[in-house]
């Protein structure tokens, strides 16, 4: 029991240290540009948490990040790097929009259900290819999924420019979805919508899957020691492919909720990189489905303040992305362990004298 508590505390220290260093470096970079970092941070905090509207917007910003974070976490747990969540997101978004503007006569809840299903399947299928060639031929999934991201963006842009789009626009967008398909807003005038609830459900569902189901067990074991999994007779290839599909599925839903809940149509290039930010979300949460809620909240909060930083200070809105990059880069650095090691080395040096 004591051991369990100790590791939880270590985790918190670890995350706290990580965040502190990330803020520190980001702050340094900001001061480098001549702006006061504390002003910037104050803007972030007040925008994100300072008012009810702000809080609602933060939750809205966190919604796609919860899904992409879960998507990446699922792949990580299986030992795979699905950097292609962004591509799945685009495919899913388009799929949801397509359902939304094609079947205009269906009742609202059925449209939403269908849209999300189609989005998930589209996203899952997009990740399936790299998954299959990875298990069959050991093709590096990082490069393949990354390449397919670009393909997904071009593909969906093409579809919406030449086939399903409103003609004559500078930035192509699709026909609007049926109003019945729109996800209700939870706290107008903010963008917070029902998608957030879906995200919560997804997070808890995935927690259950990994804790109690056979599939979750299979994925965990595969991620820990694929060789033993093979020797034990577990169907390692099938597990990996299923995990990739699930990852893409969640990525697709991430796109769907953005379309159904906020934009109400597919807009080319609409994602500012939710799929990539999902990496930071998953890493910060150590791939824990419940932890993803918190890290998505944090990153959502930071991105929420993005445009205001732009308006109120002299610097452009790159701050959140800088923060995100530092988090991703540092997460696996064993900061806590290193500090410990340094302390012990110093102690032994002392005793030697």
């Amino acid at each position: 029991m004591g051991n369990w508590k100790r590791s939880l505390i270590t985790e918190f220290i670890r995350i706290g240290l990580l965040l502190a260093i990330a803020f520190l470096i980001t702050g340094l970079i900001i001061s480098f540009t001549g702006e006061n970092p504390f002003t910037v941070f104050k803007i972030l905090v007040t925008t994100a948490f300072g008012s009810r509207a702000g809080l609602a917007e933060t939750l809205a910003a966190a919604t796609p990040l919860i899904f992409t974070g879960l998507a990446i976490a699922v792949a990580f747990k299986a030992g795979l790097f699905n950097v292609g969540v962004e591509g799945s997101l685009y495919l899913g978004a388009f799929g949801a929009a397509w359902v939304g503007f094609t079947w205009l006569h269906l009742p609202g809840w059925m449209l939403v259900f269908l849209a999300i299903l189609v989005a998930g399947i589209a996203g899952g299928l997009w990740a399936l290819g790299p998954g299959i060639v990875k298990v069959r031929y050991n093709v590096d999934e990082i490069v393949t999924t990354l390449m397919l991201n670009y393909v997904a963006i071009y593909l969906t842009t093409y579809l919406v420019t030449y086939i399903y789009g409103v003609p004559g626009l500078a930035n192509a967008m699709s026909f609007p979805i049926a109003s019945a398909a729109r996800l209700p807003r939870l706290a107008p005038p903010s963008q917070l919508n029902l998608g957030f609830v879906f995200a919560l459900i997804a997070s808890f569902t995935l927690w259950f899957v990994f804790r109690r189901t056979a599939f979750g067990y299979e994925v965990r074991m595969l991620g820990s020691n694929p060789l033993c999994v093979k020797w034990s007779g577990m169907p390692d290839k099938k597990i990996a492919v299923k995990a990739m599909f699930l990852s893409g599925f969640l990525g697709g839903i991430a796109g769907a909720v953005q379309i159904l809940g906020i934009h109400y149509r597919f807009i080319a290039n609409f994602s500012p990189g939710y799929g990539y930010t999902g990496i930071a979300v998953a890493l910060l949460a150590r791939n824990n489905p419940l932890g993803v809620l918190f890290s998505a909240l944090l990153l959502g909060a930071i991105y929420n303040g993005e445009s205001l930083i732009e308006l109120m200070t002299a610097i452009p809105m790159e701050v959140p992305r800088i923060f995100e990059g530092i988090i991703i880069a540092l997460t696996s650095a064993e900061l806590v362990v290193q500090l410990w090691v340094w302390r012990r080395k110093a102690k032994t040096q002392e005793s030697k004298r």
Binding site: T213, A214, Y217, E218, M221, S224, W231, G233
Partner: protein, 516 residues
């Protein structure tokens, strides 16, 4: 042979790792021109001590004296500069590079900024001739036999003009003929003034060639004797600290219900990772209640054969029949369901998931079945019950929640055995089942295997430990370069004959056929 000042003297060396005191105030002395045998069980601290002398580890306390002056050896580079060389138990070679490149790496002859291959070849060829090694300096190490690779390791030390040569279990992977030739070489080196520390658990060999023997047990030096004063049994007793009974197993043949083989392998050919045939049209049969030993120098196709039998690697031709059913194209899961079980050779990499708990590891073969799995959901209570009963039955020192990597080697092996036997297999493949285990655990494993045999389970034991194979097997197959070159009866053969077969000779060729 003995000079006044010892070449190397260590005093009070102490080194602790988390959970274990590897070296406890160890004193050791070596003189030029002598061969010092260093013996002890696994975990006695021999390798740690050598790694400290070679600069790969720093001691927590103690002093090292080289030629009478105190030194502090902080890196292999420094050790080499002093004149200390080490041939490791697991070769530290670069397979894709040539013999020469392996030997001169770190001390490369140069021509301006460029590496002068010609010069390097010449120097290495000279050295090869000097010691009579018969190696091609341009040969790529990957294509060499194990015995030849060991020569490359020796060349590395000789190229750097060692005065003290440390050999860690050099004969573990050699055939009897290769062992003879190595010992002869060591005697020659000692005569020329080089000091040698020979770590080995082959007590017979150590007694043959050493001029002094130091015995370690649990991190401490417990004896320093002359070979003429001790016997093998006495040494073994010193190593373990108590009398060891060599268990003899009754060899009664059991009443077989059927005579059809349980496992049939026909014309099996398997490719290795590089597309070369590692297993070449192998055929054999395993009958009920029979133990077949597969002997051979490591790297002659055993691993690929086992992988093909388990289903982790695909065979290109041939058939595998389990109880008459063709399992050649079946995945591992189906083969297990039909009665196949395996104890993999690498406990930590193939046998368990180190970061998972004991319970999670135990059900890797059963998690899809009722009552552990209902509609895709795992029933924790049933799993825990199963784990508890397995822990009790197989004497695993752990709780169901203990993380596997925290277990000792012996307990991990018990865990693997418990898991594999829980499926009530018909055929068990055991790949060096006692490698790295202490004497007591080894005995336990052997006992269990013999019990399984008595219950009618067929076992294929793949091992490089000839003693183990001779003790356990009803029949002994020898594999060389992917082919079964001979089948012998353990009670009718000799280590020499076995060694010959392992080197590729055919039965009946009693003249020594050395390829080195």
């Amino acid at each position: 042979m003995q000079t006044k000042t010892p070449l190397l003297q260590v005093r009070g060396i102490t080194k602790a790792f988390p959970g274990v005191l590897a070296n406890d105030h160890v004193n050791l002395t070596v003189f030029s021109g002598e061969i010092l045998g260093l013996v002890g069980e696994n975990g006695a601290g021999k390798t740690t001590l050598m790694r400290i002398i070679y600069g790969l580890e720093r001691p927590d306390a103690g002093e090292i004296f080289w030629k009478g002056s105190k030194v502090s050896i902080s890196s292999p580079q420094q050790a080499m500069r002093l004149g200390i060389g080490m041939v490791h138990q697991h070769f530290q070679l670069f397979p894709s590079l040539s013999v020469t490149e392996n030997v001169v790496l770190g001390n490369e002859p140069v021509f301006g900024p460029l590496f002068s291959r010609q010069q390097a070849y010449r120097r290495v060829a000279q050295l090869i001739k000097q010691f009579g090694f018969e190696l091609d300096p341009k040969a790529i190490v990957r294509g060499l036999s194990v015995g030849q690779q060991q020569k490359v390791e020796l060349l590395k030390a000789l190229y750097r003009r060692v005065e003290l040569l440390i050999l860690d279990e050099p004969t573990a992977v050699l055939t009897p003929q290769e062992v003879e030739s190595l010992l002869k070489l060591l005697r020659g080196l000692a005569t020329s003034g080089i000091a040698i520390i020979l770590i080995s658990h082959k007590l017979r060999e150590v007694l043959t060639v050493a001029s002094r023997i130091t015995v370690m047990r649990k991190g401490q030096v417990v004896a320093d004797v002359k070979p003429s004063d001790v016997t093998e049994t006495k040494l073994a007793t010193l190593m373990v600290g108590m009398e060891i009974q060599r268990a003899t197993f009754p060899q009664e043949s059991l009443q077989r219900k059927r005579d059809e083989p349980v496992l049939t392998v026909q014309g099996l050919t398997v490719l290795n990772d590089r597309g070369r045939p590692a297993v070449n049209s192998v055929s054999f049969e395993l009958r009920e209640g029979e133990i077949i030993g597969l002997a051979g120098v490591e790297g002659n196709g055993q691993q690929e054969l086992v992988e093909a039998l388990v289903g982790v690697r695909e065979a290109v031709t041939g058939r595998i029949l389990l109880n008459g059913e063709d399992i050649t194209r079946l995945p591992p899961s189906k083969r297990r369901r039909l009665g196949l079980a395996v104890i993999p050779g690498d406990r930590l990499k193939e046998g368990v998931v180190p970061s998972a708990t004991v319970a999670e590891n135990l059900i890797t073969v059963k998690y899809r079945h009722f009552p552990y799995n209902i509609a895709g959901i795992l029933r924790e209570r049933n799993i825990k019950e199963f784990a508890i009963s397995a822990i009790k039955e197989y004497h695993i020192v752990a709780e169901p929640n203990t993380v596997a990597r925290n277990l000792s080697g012996g307990n991990i092996q018990r865990l693997v055995i418990a898991r594999e036997l829980s499926t009530s297999p018909l055929v068990l493949i055991a790949v060096h089942p006692t490698r790295g285990l202490d004497v007591r655990s080894t005995l336990e494993v052997h006992e269990r295997l013999m019990n399984l045999r008595a219950r009618g389970i067929s076992i294929l034991v793949v091992s490089t430990d000839l003693d183990e194979l001779l003790e356990l097997s009803d029949r002994l197959l020898v594999i060389f370069r992917g082919t079964i070159v001979g089948e012998v009866s353990p009670r009718a053969t000799t280590p020499e004959e076995l060694g010959l077969l392992m080197l590729g000779g055919t039965r009946g060729q009693l003249e020594k056929k050395l390829d080195n």
